[in-house]
Symmetry: C2
Subunit: 358 residues, 2 copies
């Protein structure tokens, strides 16, 4: 407990040289070899390690970056966080996790708290944005990179994906498989993803290129398995025979799992009778039986890109206002194509459990 509380001053005294020289010697710039040797010796003797706070105060740099989301347990955000950490750690930056709360107000408050200067930058993935929040971000005393919609026009660095386009990809995939009666299983429409994905489905099915017979949409109470199950049950109750969909496009993997369950309850087969697609490409969808065809929104890529923007902004001399888009990517598995891999043979690096300790 007593070790390593040595300060630079003590090292200087021990080495019998000035504070300035000591700093230079350890920092490796403009000191004679003899001096370096001498100071190094004193430093190791005392078990010296530089104080991060003193250093930060002088340098006006904390070597910390905040990552703020509403729910840090959400697998999508966990993926982002992991990617962010992987990019930032080699650059010497620590990652501080924070929560935004549910509202734009609480998010704006969090952004305002940046003015106390405990981080060099923030990566923010807000649930939704409004003008007040955007303005707060612009006024922030440290760079903020937003994962969500593009804010390039407001001079804010941002990374986005195209979930609407992703739904379109799922629709095209199903049409390509010969499916003709599509139902979109969405979550609440008053959410940002719910709204965007609905837009994507409408765009894909109300175009001239739409070769199907029908395209309906139902809304589940929430983005959960239970809600997906209930909504799909109702859907199947209401329609049978030719009215029954032969494909369900779900707005995320959990809804898709609920849909699969409901379909099977009716004695129907997935994908033979009803094909199902999900979105987010989560571990849970990969492991499920049948493994889920899902639209990956590239959470890892988005996290990585955001972190890279931060590095440029903080280390280098980049100007804010850049925007990066990560394209959606359809991953075909059993829930639409029985012949597709089941995701098990492919090595899943994460074993999903504390039991994975080596």
């Amino acid at each position: 407990m007593t070790s390593s509380r040595a300060t630079l001053i003590q090292v200087a005294q021990r080495a019998g040289v000035s504070l300035a020289s000591t700093s230079r010697a350890l920092h490796g710039t403009g000191a004679s070899p003899a001096m370096v040797e001498r100071v190094r010796a004193a430093a190791t003797e005392l078990g010296y390690s530089p104080d991060a706070i003193g250093r930060s105060l002088r340098l006006k740099k904390t070597f910390q970056v905040a990552f703020a989301v509403a729910d840090i347990g959400n697998p999508v955000y966990v993926e982002m966080m992991t990617a962010i950490h992987e990019v930032l750690a080699p650059h010497g930056y620590r990652v501080v996790v924070m929560t935004t709360g549910d509202t734009t107000t609480s998010t704006a408050e969090l952004v305002r708290s940046l003015s106390s200067g405990f981080v060099d930058a923030m990566i923010l993935s807000p649930l939704r944005t409004d003008d007040a929040l955007v303005e707060e971000i612009r006024q922030a005393t440290v760079p903020v990179v937003v994962i969500g919609r593009s804010l390039a026009d407001r001079g804010i660095d941002s990374v986005s994906t195209d979930s609407a386009g992703g739904i379109g990809e799922a629709v095209q995939h199903l049409l390509g498989l010969g499916r003709r009666r599509l139902t979109f299983l969405n979550g609440p429409l008053d959410t940002t993803p719910g709204e965007a994905r609905q837009r994507g489905f409408d765009a894909a099915t109300r175009t001239k290129g739409f070769t199907g017979e029908r395209a309906d949409a139902v809304v589940a109470a929430d983005f959960t398995v239970a809600a997906g199950l209930a909504a799909t049950r109702a859907l199947l109750d209401a329609a049978d025979g030719d009215a029954r969909p032969d494909a369900i496009v779900a707005a995320n993997d959990l809804l898709a799992i609920g849909a699969v369950r409901a379909v099977r309850e009716r004695g129907l087969a997935v994908p033979q009778d009803v094909a199902v697609t999900g979105m987010d490409d989560t571990e849970i969808g990969r492991v499920f039986q049948p493994s889920l065809t899902s639209v990956s929104l590239g959470s890892t890529e988005r996290g990585r890109a955001a972190a890279q923007l931060v590095v440029d902004l903080v280390d280098g001399d980049a100007q804010p206002g850049r925007h990066l888009a990560v394209g959606p990517r359809l991953v075909v598995r059993e829930s639409t194509d029985p012949a597709a891999g089941d995701g098990v043979s492919a090595g899943t690096p994460d074993d999903g459990t504390g039991g994975g300790h080596r």
Copy 2:
């Protein structure tokens, strides 16, 4: 970008009073109402917000706590992190995520880095521990709370669970259901959990109270679905008829899922022909069909407990060396009991996707 860069000195000048009085007025101690009013006004006028670094330097307190594990994407650790964050945030502490690397050496190195004083404490869940690491933790300049095995005898705060006992609970549960031929599906034995869980299985089956006919163990290559699938296939290939197990105790949920798949491949039913239990009680096991009976090791509780220990240690005046044990808890679901809930009706607060945005 120009806002909130005001310093306390500027506030003092603006208010026309001394620096000392300004600090007191804002901090609310020993200042006259008039002074408080005056300083407050100046502060809001300038949009002042106190600098965290200057504050930390003076107070010798960072208001940050590190959480370090090998793999921050691992759901078990994510659960811990979430719980830790929930406990610490209300106390005004930020959470810094760090990775230990795979070896005890790299972990010890991380602990040593604490001497630069960027956090007030660390919560560490090491893959494994050795004497050098324990010694490093003892020497650390800030309190370290270990999640893993008890280190009370070394004067280090720790939180542990009893995975061995948890396996015992699974065994008892299966015996209670009338199962007689048990097979333990473990991961690599040279891992800490692998070793402990094997010990638990042996203890539960080699005792006088063991009412079964046989108890075997197989070892999968890894704690993954694929490894569980392969190992269980081999197991079923080798034995049939009466030799076939009527219950499989898996060392974690992913292995259990692999086992379920292999059993079904053979045209056997879960749980009727073969009952399966997992461990860790992950979301993935709850959602899987059949939903998995699993032994929860209370990751949330352990995280919460560790965070509470940190708060006591840093805020209060507790002495290190305490130890808390979180008991394992068996959650019965469909993979052993067809009548058990499938985990879907029970509200899962986390929707597992970015699509859950409100």
